[in-house]
Subunit: 261 residues, 4 copies
């Protein structure tokens, strides 16, 4: 059954707003309890938000599959699957650093087709879907014009670097150096969902998943938004890993690819 | 055709959020130009937001009637009609006073059944619908417990008082005095949509439309939210006008009615 | 000893910002506990903020008198006295209504010469001092141009109306009717500090203390800001009470006075 | 002449708040014009804020030296010098990324003794001074407890990396790899003032100036806040550069130093 992405986007934005409001409410309270154990706190709020979003999706899209980063794994016979990252940047949330998001993406046969990424502290909601446009709140966003490689700012993702073998770490560092010495700057924020949105809205030029460990939960929403804003991405094989590379345009993407493979 | 109010509420909240984001964006810019003529400015932003909401409603509910306070009058063969107050409190919006809302209500055969009222400056979204609960953002709200009349705070609406005859003005003032001398306080804010929400959320105890001039655009959303929060309302005939009275409960409503009739 | 009002204004703004941040922090937590008893809650936060401001003033201005609405009464041999209203609009604070302020005023031999009024929810800080200008945050504000009386919006204050005799209440209601039938609208918000600032910034045209019960804590800061923005005020005797009248200009003030005396 | 740091801190916070309010006002307007040329825009707002802060400092501290990142170089015969970074993170400001600050630091004979770092979008003001405590708004902050090196999160600064020789770049990359493979994660945000504050408030564990190119404007305020929160720092010589290393405690600082030298 075909779905109306305009309608689904409004529903997804409302669900994510609701979840963000909850985090906004907990943001100040959280501070006081975090000292004891940041990890447990994180889990508590991650779970709370994931459950809330799952409940809404289940009511609104009873036939769709729903997967959450924490616990939700509801498989259905449908081409459509939702991916929830309840708090991308949990440690920041727990440390009063306003750099986290609620991220909700929809795939059609595994391809991201719609996304919402919301930073409740700055009240910035990024959204977009296939065949539609991309938005920051109510304002349309577009990727930046192509720039010479040495002027580009790259968002670098290093998920799970600490779990890799020394051999793989060295290889990544070599890749990293290749990139650093050819672009203007590599930034590493630890919040991939917002990283992709910042490419979509013109602040950054490319995204490199250095470790090959980004998960669909982290990037599904951001990739749909990036495409709606005119950006491109590709999964490449490098060092025995499948790595995600994204950019504002095909030329920059090709140039980045050469540095990684 | 039956509609799913849970789904419709999410759609309405997303539409209103989008409109509120636009006002948030204009809030600071507005200041600089308002000096010339507050009235024209008001009209400009009211129209902008009304068009934006109308466009979204038309896509999502092509069979529903849609009426806006400014220009929209789209009548359809449907029991469902939407009422848009794009900016309730335009003068406040134009004067940097954070006391205005975007208000969107849905009626079923003229009865308010669903509402969303959003103050974008404080990021407070009130919502509720028939058979459902009422919310301030993601937190459930309820009317306050019944209080003795002399402890109640009443929201008084004086819409279009200046257009009434001296005779009617005196009558209203008499009513007003009856109320003032029996309750704790009467407040007159000039933003009826938020006034009704503040009864729904426990801050105020009753609402009196002293002039009988409130319009469905002003109160449709608020009344649906108030009912969902446990409150009650009634249209009474007084001084040759149909007047709206609302309260947290039937006892208070009855006590207020006696002072007006 | 002469004081430098430019310096004192910066100090006062920082102290008030600090207090507002505290209220911002408690704003969400407050909600959950208010149900039990709004009055006690109010007292708790009022006291907390008054103590905080008093401590800062004592360190910075050890020779000045300091008076707080709640408990502080520190009399010194100095022409300078500070008046603190820790939360003007406590009930609103306790009811999630973003219409309250931290208000701090300085007098020189009983005349208000400097004021800061801060709404922490909308992050709007009004400030001004004698011989200086008035500001909303970093933007200069001025009173509105003179308007015909029938186009003016009046802020009406009804402090302690419930404690007055029936005779006085009737007299006030008569005054009130005189005003209502000659101006565009009378608004009654229950937050006098912000009311005066809204005249200073062009939203309202006049202020009437109908009961003669406003206290120096409520209006000291607002009056200094109003004067710095070009407005005027006067204490008049009416019905055996000393009443405060303020306006954007002398002509409007005179016209209002005639309706009250 | 001795200064009262408690008083000076209030003054500095008020000045920085005022500047942040201006940026908050421009934040939304900026978006529309940034497309043409982000670099010029940046310069415009950087200059506007630097002039505003310089004017206030000049009035309040006429005998102190004042240096701004853009143009201000006012040398006086005084042990006290102010360092202004009007917008640390200009590119983020121009790209709707809420990760920039107004940063104002005071030195006494070149040693940072007082600092204020303000993110106006999240309304987070970090402050602290020698012999005093450190604060995030009105809440005291402290560095995190010591953690095993492999659990630490390091803020890495790569200022002007693109201007270094290939030889120096390789050396830095080698240092970087040493660090990455021993700590939990290295983050590179490009906003050093906030990076230092996040160590002060418990989110991060250490700061490494990999290129030796951080300027006093970037770090003066943050270092004073870090010390007031219990943290430590040191300038070390490495690869022919003077590099800044900071941490939550001496043990972590020593461990980090070993990886860099």
């Amino acid at each position: 059954m075909e779905i109306d992405l305009y309608q689904v986007s409004h529903l997804a934005r409302s669900i994510v707003k609701e979840a963000g409001d909850q985090l906004n409410l907990e943001w100040k309270v959280a501070k006081e309890t975090v000292a004891k154990d940041p990890r447990d706190l994180a889990t508590k709020y991650d779970l709370m938000v994931e459950k809330q979003i799952t409940a809404a999706l289940t009511k609104l899209f009873p036939n769709h599959s729903i997967y959450g980063e924490e616990v939700t794994k509801t498989k259905q016979h449908s081409p459509y699957a939702w991916y929830i990252d309840p708090i991308d940047g949990t440690k920041y949330f727990a440390s009063d650093i306003p750099l986290f998001s609620v991220s909700l993406g929809l795939t059609d046969k595994d391809k991201p087709i719609l996304g919402v990424v919301y930073n409740p502290i700055s009240n910035q909601m990024y959204s977009g879907y296939q065949t539609g446009k991309a938005y920051l709140n109510n304002s349309q966003i577009k990727v930046a014009d192509q720039r010479p490689l040495k002027e580009t700012i790259v968002y670098g993702d290093f998920s799970k670097f600490e779990l890799l073998s020394g051999e793989k770490q060295r290889k990544i560092n070599q890749n990293y150096f290749e990139v650093m010495s050819r672009v203007y700057r590599v930034r590493a924020f630890g919040c991939g969902s917002l990283g992709l949105c910042w490419i979509a809205s013109g602040g950054f030029d490319a995204f490199i998943d250095f470790t090959g460990k980004t998960k669909i939960y982290d990037v599904c929403a951001g990739l749909a938004i990036l495409e709606a804003a005119g950006g491109v991405y590709e999964h490449i094989a490098a060092n025995g890993e499948k790595k995600l590379i994204a950019a504002t345009n095909r030329t920059t993407l090709a140039a980045i690819k050469k540095l990684i493979i």
